[in-house]
C-alpha cells in the first residue's frame, strides 16, 4: 500500500512538455482515425441498416439487421441474380492470374538473375517500361487488341491482361531478391553437376518462398480488385466479376444502396483478410525495393 503510494507521485508528475507532446500526438491521431474510418464505417452502417432507415443519417441504426446479407446470399434481387457465380468468377480469375504470374515472373527472374542470361538486362528494362505505363492508358489499345485476337468477352482476355499488368513488378521484386542470394550456392550446385532445372527447383525456389508469397499475393489482390479492365473486356452477366457487378448497381437511380453496400462489404472482406494475413511479407517484400532507391 505504502509502496504503491510512493510509486504513484513520479508518474503523476508529468512535465508540461510531456503533456503537450501527448496532446499534439492525439491531435494528429484522432482526426486521422476519423478520416480513415468514415468511408468504411458508412459502408458498414448501410450494410446493417434495414431498407427504409438506411438513409436516416443516424450514426447507428435503431434496428441493426443482417437481412441485407441474407438477401445477397440468397440472390433475392434483380441485381444479385448471379452473385455466387460472379464471386466464383472473381476468385477463379484472381487465382489464375496469381498462378500464371508466379510462373512467368519466377522463371524470368531466375533466368535474368541466376542464369545471367545474355540480354537479360534488356528484358528487365522492357518489364520496367511496362510497369510504368499507366494501366488506364493501356486499357483502350488492350481492348482493341483483344478484339483482334477474338478474345473479347472471354475470361481469358481479362486473365491475360492482368498477367501482363502484374508480371513486370513481380519480375522486378523477384530479381531484386534473387540478386541477394549468395552466388556460392549456384557454384556448388553446378560443380555437383546440377542441371538448370535442378538448381531452380532444389536451391532457388526454397530460398525464395517469402518473396514468392509477397508477389503471389500482390497479383491475386490486383486481379480481384481490378475494375477497369474487367468492365471493358467482359460483358455477359454470367462472365463478369463481382467488381463489375457492384458498379452495375449504379445503372439505375433507385438502386438498393443497402444491398450494394452489403455486397461491397462481402467483396472487400477476402482481400482485406489476405492483406492482413500476409502483411509481414507484403510490407518487407514490396517496400524493400522502393526504399532502396
Amino acid at each position: 500500500m505504502s509502496a504503491a503510494a510512493q510509486r504513484l507521485p513520479p508518474k503523476r508528475r508529468l512535465s508540461w512538455r510531456q503533456v503537450s507532446t501527448e496532446a499534439q500526438l492525439l491531435l494528429v491521431g484522432i482526426p486521422l482515425l476519423l478520416w480513415t474510418m468514415i468511408p468504411v464505417y458508412h459502408l458498414f452502417l448501410f450494410a446493417i441498416s434495414p431498407k427504409d432507415t438506411a438513409t436516416s443519417g443516424k450514426l447507428w441504426p435503431d434496428h441493426p439487421t443482417l437481412q441485407n446479407f441474407s438477401i445477397v446470399f440468397h440472390e433475392h434481387h434483380f441485381y444479385l441474380n448471379h452473385f455466387w457465380l460472379q464471386m466464383w468468377n472473381s476468385l477463379l480469375i484472381a487465382v489464375a492470374v496469381a498462378v500464371l504470374t508466379l510462373f512467368i515472373a519466377t522463371f524470368a527472374a531466375f533466368a535474368i538473375s541466376r542464369l545471367k542470361l545474355p540480354g537479360g538486362r534488356t528484358v528487365m528494362n522492357l518489364a520496367l517500361f511496362t510497369y510504368f505505363i499507366p494501366a488506364a492508358f493501356l486499357a483502350v489499345p488492350m481492348y482493341k487488341t483483344m478484339s483482334v485476337y477474338g478474345l473479347l468477352n472471354s475470361q481469358w482476355s481479362l486473365i491475360l491482361a492482368m498477367v501482363t499488368i502484374a508480371s513486370p513488378y513481380c519480375i522486378w521484386v523477384l530479381k531484386q531478391a534473387s540478386d541477394k542470394l549468395p552466388w556460392e550456392l549456384d557454384e556448388a550446385a553446378r560443380i555437383d553437376g546440377a542441371s538448370p532445372l535442378q538448381l531452380f527447383r532444389l536451391v532457388y525456389l526454397p530460398l525464395m518462398v517469402p518473396s514468392l508469397v509477397a508477389v503471389g499475393t500482390y497479383a491475386l489482390l490486383l486481379a480481384w480488385n481490378e475494375y477497369l479492365y474487367a468492365f471493358l473486356l467482359l460483358s455477359k452477366d454470367t462472365d463478369i466479376t463481382l467488381a463489375v457487378a457492384l458498379c452495375n448497381f449504379l445503372s439505375a437511380d433507385d438502386s438498393p444502396w443497402e444491398l450494394l453496400m452489403a455486397t461491397g462489404f462481402i467483396y472487400a472482406l477476402p482481400p482485406a483478410a489476405i492483406y492482413y494475413a500476409f502483411k509481414r511479407y507484403m510490407v518487407s517484400g514490396l517496400t524493400a525495393g522502393a526504399v532502396k532507391s
Binding site: L32, S56, L117, G120, P134, L160, T164, M261, A268, P271
Partner: protein, 290 residues
C-alpha cells in the same frame, strides 16, 4: 585408368561447351513466357494504338474538343495538387507513426485499411455519402442547420476536389508506409547527438531527416505521379466524369471516347500526353534498374 582419362580428354572441352549451351538454352526457355506476353500484350497493343492514332485529322478533332482541354487542365491539377498534398501529409505522418506509443501501433493497423480493401466499395460509399438528397453529409447538415446542403458532385470544382480527396484517402497509407520505412533507416544516434547539441525539432528535420529522405521522397513523388495518371476509379466511380464531362482526367477520357466510338481520339489523347509521361518513365527506369 590413364587410358580412360586420355580417352576422356578430347571430349572434355566440347562437353563444357555443351554444358554452357544447356544453361543458355534453359535461360532463354525460362525468359520466353514473359517475352511472349510482352510481345503479344504490350508491344502489339502499343503499336496498334499508335497506328490507330496516325491520322493528323484525329489531332485536329481532339484539339477542337473543349472537353480535351478541360481534361488536360484537370489532370495537371490532379497531379500537382493531389500528389504534393498527399506526399507532404505522408511525410508528416511518417514522423507520427515512428513515435513509440501502444495506441499509435493500433492506429497504424487501422490506418492501412483504405489501402488493404478494394477501392470500389469505399468509393461508392463516399459517393452515396455525398448524394444531395439522401446522403449522410447533407442529412447531417439538414438536421443541424435546417438548410439543404450543396449538391456536392454537381459542381465541377467540388466534384474534382472530392475525386482528389478520394485518391489521397486510398493511397496515403501506402506512401506513409514507404516513408516510415525510410525514416526507420536513419540511425537514431544522429537524433540523440542533435538533442545533446540542443537542436529544435525543426532543425532535426531540416538537417537530419530531410537530407536522408530527399531521394526517397523524390522517387516516391514521381512514381506516385505515374500511378495517379492511371487512377481511373477515383474519378470515374465518384463523378463519372460529370457534371457535363467537366471532371474527366486523361485516365477516364479514353473510356469516354471509346464509348463515343472514337477510338482514334482516345489514342490521340494518349499520344499527346506522352511528352509529359515519358520523361517520368525514363527517370524511374534509371532509378530502379540500378
Amino acid at each position: 585408368m590413364t587410358a580412360e582419362t586420355l580417352a576422356a580428354m578430347p571430349t572434355a572441352r566440347p562437353r563444357a561447351k555443351r554444358a554452357r549451351n544447356t544453361w543458355v538454352f534453359w535461360g532463354r526457355a525460362m525468359v520466353l513466357p514473359y517475352v511472349a506476353v510482352f510481345l503479344v500484350f504490350v508491344l502489339f497493343p502499343v503499336c496498334y494504338g499508335l497506328w490507330l492514332a496516325r491520322h493528323p485529322s484525329s489531332y485536329d478533332k481532339l484539339f477542337d474538343d473543349p472537353i480535351f482541354f478541360r481534361t488536360a487542365v484537370n489532370t495537371l491539377i490532379f497531379i500537382v495538387v493531389a500528389i504534393n498534398l498527399k506526399m507532404m501529409v505522408a511525410l508528416g505522418l511518417s514522423g507520427f507513426f515512428v513515435q513509440k506509443r501502444w495506441w499509435i501501433s493500433v492506429l497504424a493497423v487501422i490506418f492501412i485499411i483504405p489501402w488493404a480493401v478494394p477501392s470500389i466499395p469505399t468509393i461508392l460509399s463516399v459517393r452515396f455519402m455525398l448524394n444531395p438528397e439522401w446522403g449522410g453529409i447533407n442529412s447531417l447538415i439538414f438536421r443541424l442547420t435546417g438548410v439543404d446542403g450543396p449538391n456536392w458532385l454537381n459542381d465541377p470544382t467540388l466534384a474534382l476536389s472530392f475525386s482528389m480527396l478520394m485518391h489521397v484517402w486510398k493511397s496515403l497509407p501506402f506512401w506513409t508506409l514507404i516513408l516510415v520505412a525510410g525514416r526507420l533507416a536513419i540511425p537514431g544516434e544522429q537524433y540523440e547527438a542533435a538533442s545533446v547539441d540542443g537542436a529544435s525539432r525543426w532543425q532535426k528535420f531540416r538537417y537530419i531527416t530531410w537530407p536522408a529522405m530527399r531521394s526517397l521522397y523524390l522517387t516516391s513523388t514521381i512514381l506516385s505521379m505515374i500511378w495517379t495518371l492511371g487512377d481511373f476509379n477515383s474519378v470515374y466511380l465518384l463523378t463519372g466524369g460529370g457534371p457535363a464531362d467537366l471532371t474527366h482526367v486523361l485516365a477516364t477520357l479514353g473510356i469516354r471516347y471509346l464509348r463515343l466510338d472514337q477510338v482514334d481520339l482516345a489514342m490521340a489523347a494518349i499520344v499527346v500526353s506522352l511528352p509529359l509521361i515519358l520523361p517520368l518513365v525514363f527517370f524511374m527506369m534509371k532509378r530502379l534498374s540500378k
